[in-house]
């Protein structure tokens, strides 16, 4: 999906994600307590997750869609901390190596075209002792849930460029990360993950 497509979705994005945000609020607040240092927030969208951030963080937020970034404005301004926004593709960011202490992705790795390449790029900009924090949905290992997700993925891929059949845990490991915290938020589909680059 292109930046232009996300620009089109931006108008209804808050409505589409409203139910998810109500469901995920407690799990996100718990996960986001781990954010520290200089943070790269990948795929800010309209900034719905900002209300779940602890105050006082130093965040660089990126998104490939100008419309999404524009709509995140009020939430960024209301946040009690620093958020700087840039229009950038997560697969080819313009940051130097080892720039960030923490990289955060929220439902990003289901949308990028090449998730392993994206994760390798995130590893590049993450400091060697930094942490990748992910709140992502993945393909279920349960055959019934997995079948439904694969079936629905054809539709979501077409409508909003989201894949429901991604193996994000395996992709993170393929990109060279080591998962050290793995919590299921809903079934084995929505997950709160923390990973580190190899030592």
């Amino acid at each position: 999906m292109t930046a232009k497509s996300y620009d089109g979705v931006a108008r209804v994005f808050d409505l589409l994600r409203a139910g998810d945000m109500r469901r995920w609020e407690p799990a996100q607040q718990t996960l986001f307590k781990n954010l520290k240092g200089r943070i790269l927030y990948v795929g800010i969208g309209t900034g719905q997750e900002i209300v779940n951030f602890p105050p006082g963080l130093d965040i660089t937020a990126i998104d490939m869609s100008y419309e999404m970034l524009k709509r995140s404005g009020p939430r960024v301004q209301n946040y009690n901390g620093d958020i700087h926004r840039s229009q950038m593709d997560a697969q080819t960011t313009g940051f130097r190596d080892n720039t960030f202490d923490t990289v955060l992705t929220v439902c990003v790795l289901c949308s990028v075209k090449h998730p392993v390449n994206c994760l390798q790029e995130l590893k590049r900009v993450l400091k060697p002792d930094g942490e990748l924090v992910m709140f992502e949905h993945v393909l279920s290992k349960n055959p019934i849930y997995g079948f439904i997700l694969k079936f629905m993925s054809y539709m979501t891929e077409y409508l909003e460029g989201t894949y429901l059949d991604r193996n994000t845990v395996e992709n993170a490991e393929a990109a060279g990360f080591k998962i050290h915290s793995h919590k299921n938020v809903y079934l084995d589909i929505v997950k709160a993950l923390r990973a580190k680059p190899p030592e």
Binding site: L15, L16, R17, A18, G19, D20, R22, R23, W24, H137, N142, I144, Y145, I148, L149, F151, M152, M155, L164, K183, N184, V185, Y186, L187, D188, I189, V190
Partner: protein, 117 residues
């Protein structure tokens, strides 16, 4: 409304709706195998707009997973039930409601197991 309670209402509502539509569409048929297949297809097609309608309010995965199971499961079983002679539409709808409620319950306990691992 508490979202966990809402999940049971959604399951029951979707099950009853699929059962009603399948019963209205197939009650005049007599081949149990064909009505089972047709009921499953009608159920799967019917839950698609329901999913789109409910997802923004109740969460994408919490709607997609149960309705995916209910659409096919209730559609197939009510398709077969609809061929039985003298069966009331109310019984078929109650069956759909019951299956929808049970699916919501199974997913609730399945979720408890996954999230406490």
């Amino acid at each position: 409304m508490n979202l966990k309670v809402a999940d049971f209402f959604i399951g029951t509502f979707a099950g009853g709706t699929v059962a009603l539509v399948v019963y209205l569409a197939l009650s005049s048929q007599s081949n149990m195998f064909l009505t089972m297949v047709a009921g499953g297809l009608i159920g799967m097609a019917l839950v698609l707009p329901l999913k789109i309608l409910l997802m923004p309010f109740f969460g994408a995965f919490e709607v997609v997973i149960p309705l995916g199971i209910i659409g096919m499961g209730v559609g197939m079983t009510t398709g077969m039930l609809s061929t039985l002679p003298d069966i009331s539409g109310y019984v078929v709808i109650a069956w759909g409601d019951l299956i929808g409620f049970i699916v919501a319950g199974i997913i609730y306990f399945s979720n408890q197991r996954y999230t406490t691992q």
